[in-house]
Symmetry: D2
Subunit: 90 residues, 4 copies
């Protein structure tokens, strides 16, 4: 339970995801309507950018809460592995 | 009309986007259920990766069809500007 | 020979690389002197950013000159493969 | 002093940087000799990749040593700010 997303954060990030979902629906419509490839790519890149900002918000919360607590509990190996794993996928 | 996504490609890329949409719905559910931040970030990074692959497919088609035609029509400045713009947003 | 970097461009991009080289020497010195890890990472990230800008300049020239010429010669498959290859490594 | 790069790590990462320096010198030579743009871009992308791996190594050490210590000292705000800053520049 201690690892769960804080309830007060859920609403904010949930709202961000709803907006991203709307943008994704727009890309699907653009493809169906045969829009210009470059416009479709721009829209898709904007979604990736929004997801990266979403990740930043999740990461900030993770560092402040979970990492702080786990480092204090001496779990530096697990924490380091998890954070490096996120870094490598970037 | 010449700039539109080829109909035969629309179905394939449309299918990709439907899968990405499913993954995004999963992220939204994870946030609502208060899943572990690191798992949420991994899922979001997977979506960004899938969108990058989608862009690659769109770009490939764009190069083969639109860029080839526009370069032959002498529009190298416009083409260059558009492609550099995609590169810069990466 | 037609594929070679234009001589007028060589000086400009060569100058950029000399600056990047200076920054890399600075990172090496920071490591030797045992500087703070975060400061070293920032400096390394700045070099990556400078190299990405250098690539953008090279790509711009490549599109205007080589891609324009090769597309006009009907080599759209080779050109597409080369550009997608650059995109995938990003 | 507590924030300094550990001496035992300095040699390893210093060696990595020496190799990267060699690759950068190769790019400079390629530009001077007017090599094919695409080959130059590939070489530059390889350097960026090597620098990202170098950062990963630095970050791993930073997490294990400095972040663990600073989180235990209750400095979660400073640590979070520094790590988010690295993330944003990616």
């Amino acid at each position: 339970m201690a690892n769960k997303t804080a309830p007060d954060k859920r609403k904010t990030v949930g709202h961000r995801l709803a907006i991203i979902d709307g943008h994704l629906r727009k890309v699907r419509r653009m493809v169906e309507e045969g829009a210009y490839c470059v416009d479709i790519i721009h829209q898709s890149q904007a979604i990736q950018s929004a997801l990266k900002n979403f990740d930043e918000e999740m990461l900030r919360q993770h560092l402040r809460v979970c990492v702080a607590r786990d480092m204090q509990a001496g779990k530096s190996d697990t924490v380091t592995k998890e954070l490096i794993d996120i870094y490598k996928r970037l």
